[in-house]
């Protein structure tokens, strides 16, 4: 079963993302969530998710710092990361992809956005559904 870590400081946003994932995957997925990058690092070590979906703007440790930490780690650098942000123009998207993000999605997200994203990662062989 695919285990997905959802990282966002907004409980509403986490619920929204989780709901989109559940609708898209018929629930055959395990979800864990974190409030910020620091919590996410702890959960990556403990729960070993197969995919991280993270917001950018968060207190304590933001999405960019989390992405850098994951990609700088020899142990976790292969872990795919999707960034979800409301502040994503072409320049920002390109910077995030250079830093290792698999995909950058714009808020507000919908189930079709998540479905396309997961299909794309599945086609690339990055995740298995």
């Amino acid at each position: 079963m695919l285990k997905v870590l959802v990282v966002d400081d907004s409980a509403i946003a986490r619920m929204m993302i989780s709901k989109c994932i559940e609708m898209t995957t018929d629930g055959v997925i395990e979800l864990v969530d974190a409030n910020n990058g620091v919590e996410a690092i702890g959960l990556i070590k403990k729960d070993r998710p197969h995919l991280v979906i993270s917001d950018l703007n968060m207190p304590v440790m933001d999405g960019t710092a989390l992405l850098r930490r994951i990609k700088a780690s020899p142990k976790w650098c292969e872990l795919p990361v999707i960034i979800i942000t409301s502040a994503g123009n072409r320049q920002r998207e390109s910077e995030l992809k250079e830093q290792g993000a698999e995909l950058v999605l714009n808020k507000p997200i919908s189930p079709p956005d998540i479905s396309i994203a997961l299909d794309s990662l599945k086609c690339k062989g990055v995740i298995q559904l």
């Binding site: 400081d9 509403i12 946003a13 502040a87 320049q91």
Partner: protein, 151 residues
């Protein structure tokens, strides 16, 4: 197109897209002037941004509308909603509107930063910032958005 007119149009587009996609609600421009919103039935949130323009966006939304959006999204009736849930939703709406607005007005090759939503919007910044105020109608309720830009 002058800057103020462009900001007005793009702020409307960003607000329209956010409410349409989040809650299937239609947003219409309104001439209603809410003036200084201090009524207890409104909630407000502000986000600072730093792009090729610097400033802040403050959103004033009626509690009743926030409650309706929450119910649409999560099927949780207003009696079961609490103030933290409403505040979180307001922050998420503001974050999405401001992000979409900046994506529309900031050139594609320029990176920009946004702050985290602040809920104490009583700080008077009128001395330093140019203020533009817009009203919109959503489901017969009026919301107000202030755009403050550094001179």
């Amino acid at each position: 197109m002058n800057c103020e007119k462009e900001f007005e149009e793009q702020l409307y587009r960003a607000t329209e897209a956010t409410f349409e996609k989040m809650a299937f609600m239609e947003v219409m421009p309104s001439d209603t002037d809410l003036g200084c919103v201090t009524q207890s039935d409104f909630r407000s949130s502000r986000i600072l941004f730093d792009a090729h323009i610097r400033g802040a966006v403050t959103m004033f939304l009626p509690l009743e509308l926030l409650s309706e959006v929450f119910e649409t999204l999560y099927n949780i009736p207003s009696e079961e909603q609490d103030s933290d849930m409403i505040r979180d939703l307001l922050g998420e709406i503001t974050n999405t509107v401001v992000g979409n607005f900046l994506t529309l007005v900031v050139p594609d090759d320029v990176s920009y930063k946004m702050g985290i939503p602040q809920f104490d919007t009583s700080i008077d910044t009128a001395g330093e910032l140019e203020l533009m105020s817009y009203s919109y109608k959503i489901d017969d309720k009026i919301i107000k958005i202030e755009l403050m830009q550094r001179n």
